[in-house]
């Protein structure tokens, strides 16, 4: 399985052209998409035209950026000029934007080739990617399993080698859950690090854009391209953008990796716990100091995040909610809940957000980053509504978001990286959480661990 770095080198060394690379991925999509349903729209003609332009430019010594000639996919919530953008919804099935999202602009400016738009959970409001309008997305590791969501198509596409990178969005885990279930890397940056301009919103204060990739270094390359101030997004930070690409050789000497003694390791599949604690051992072997930390009330943080999400999502979709027949039952139920939540609850949830953000700062006085599982179990089966985890019966959506949702409320950067396979051959995801705007550290720790974990390059045997 190629990484962005390898594909860029092959082109630089003239061993492969952008057109050849793009044709390879388009052929792969044609072969696999009927099984996986990772793509809603494939932009073959445009991709080949973009690739040909990249080759011509390279011939004349012009290389746009680190993604020059690199085939990528975009979750179908990012506006793409002239290419339909459905948001996985009947409401937007014919919507063709006249503008690109800021992320799309930056990817294209860096030379990326757009292969197409990936399938998602309807309106990005769920974790299964069972889309009633555009079909079910399948996990490449086991076609009977969920890829996660809502960026399920992106996770499935990267894991099956249909593209070198796929953009996702994350409101309550929607990059990290598919990354964990599909065995890819998934990065949710700090709030405000990446512009939300041109992304059809699920939520106004919890949405984040980030990449799903085959390696941590690839995620860093993409973040270098997409991060930075955008005046069209009021929440976009003007804080300077670092170089996020980790060095070739990494020592974790002096890095304090926090292992939460509460919440994150309660109620886990035993194989997930074993795998993530193994990552802690690997970090120690690289020179990191493992410190035990107590985290604030994550159940409270999750409940607060849910009040905000329910309220904001229902407000965002208010003008469409009289078209009840055009929604899937699961998202309609969430919109109905949000319509009934009192304004005082929402405002108090935003006040509690400030309280929790301040409380969490104390955790990062003892540790430089936290290591946790990304999801409490590997991927559930398609159609499964409940899990049994640690002896408790849990709703699939609430279980899958339990360890990731609160981080959106706190605004912190978080990286999911694969750290092993279960006995059934399903990927297991670990999560690294950092201080606000410390993506450089999170990615450095992630890259160091990825080098010793040895998961990178593994392909789903089912394909």
């Amino acid at each position: 399985m190629l990484t962005i770095g390898e594909a860029a080198s092959l082109q630089r060394d003239r061993k492969l052209s952008a057109v050849e690379l793009t044709r390879h991925y388009l052929d792969h999509i044609e072969k696999l998409n009927a099984k996986l349903n990772a793509f809603i729209t494939v932009t073959s003609e445009r991709a080949l035209a973009d690739a040909a332009r990249c080759d011509e430019e390279r011939k004349h010594g012009k290389v746009r950026g680190p993604l020059h000639g690199i085939p990528v996919a975009i979750k179908d919530v990012f506006c793409t000029r002239g290419v339909r953008t459905t948001c996985g919804s009947k409401l937007f099935s014919d919507y063709v934007p006249d503008h690109d999202a800021a992320v799309v602009e930056r990817l294209q400016a860096a030379g990326a080739v757009l292969l197409g738009k990936t399938t998602l959970h309807e309106l990005a409001y769920g974790i299964t990617s069972n889309n009633p309008h555009f079909g079910t997305v399948h996990n490449p590791w086991d076609l009977e399993r969920l890829p996660g969501g809502s960026s399920g198509g992106s996770g499935s596409a990267v894991a099956s080698g249909m593209c070198l990178m796929a953009m996702g969005t994350d409101t309550g885990g929607s990059i990290r859950i598919p990354a964990s279930f599909c065995g890819t890397v998934g990065l949710k940056p700090t709030t405000g690090r990446v512009s939300r301009y041109g992304i059809l919103p699920l939520d106004f204060t919890l949405d984040h854009a980030g990449p799903l990739t085959a390696s941590v270094r690839d995620a860093a390359v993409v973040l270098n391209v997409i991060a930075g101030r955008d005046t069209r997004d009021d929440s976009s930070s003007a804080r300077p953008v670092a170089n996020y690409l980790p060095p070739a050789e990494i020592s974790l000497r002096g890095v304090r990796v926090g292992l939460p003694e509460n919440f994150f390791f309660d109620r886990l599949d035993p194989e997930v716990e074993r795998a993530v604690r193994g990552v802690a051992d690997a970090a120690k072997g690289l020179g990191a100091e493992i410190v035990s930390v107590k985290v604030p009330d994550m159940e409270g943080i999750n409940a607060t995040a849910r009040v905000i999400l329910l309220s904001e999502a229902s407000a965002a979709m208010e003008r469409f909610l009289d078209r009840r027949g055009d929604f899937g039952a699961d998202v309609l139920a969430l919109f109905d809940q949000g319509r009934l939540i009192p304004a005082t609850y929402y405002i108090n949830a935003q006040r509690l957000r400030r309280v929790y953000m301040l409380e969490f700062q104390a955790v990062f006085e003892r540790a430089d980053c936290l290591l946790t599982p990304a999801t409490p179990t590997p991927a559930p089966r398609i159609g499964q509504t409940e899990l049994v985890v640690g002896g408790n019966r849990e709703d699939v959506r609430l279980a899958s978001t339990r360890l990731v949702r609160g981080i959106n409320l706190l605004g912190l950067p978080a990286l999911s990286l694969p750290c092993g396979l279960s006995g059934e051959g399903l990927p297991i995801g670990a999560q690294l959480i950092g201080r606000a705007f410390e993506e450089e550290l999170v990615l450095r720790v992630g890259a160091a661990l990825e080098d010793v974990i040895g998961f990178r390059g593994r392909r789903p045997p089912a394909l």
């Binding site: 009192p342 957000r353 309280v355």
Partner: protein
């Protein structure tokens, strides 16, 4: 220990605010709202009186000062 007021009557709230939600659909969402409220309602007392909401702050050019680049963040 804070006293938690009785649960809200979601059915009555829905009748007033969202009468278009069919009874069967309402029956599906009420248990979820009850469960969420049971966790969330006691939390509201945690914020000290003077705590402001963590809204995104907008700063105009005229208002901004050196070092204010991240005024949008708390």
């Amino acid at each position: 220990m804070y006293n938690v007021a009785p649960m809200r009557n979601w059915k009555q709230i829905a009748a007033a605010l969202a009468p278009d939600i069919p009874e069967a659909d309402l029956a599906r969402v009420i248990p979820a709202l009850d469960a969420l409220e049971a966790v969330f309602r006691p939390l509201m007392h945690r914020a000290p009186h003077e705590t402001e909401p963590a809204y995104i702050m907008l700063v105009t050019k005229a208002q901004s000062e050196p070092g204010d680049e991240d005024k949008a963040h708390i």
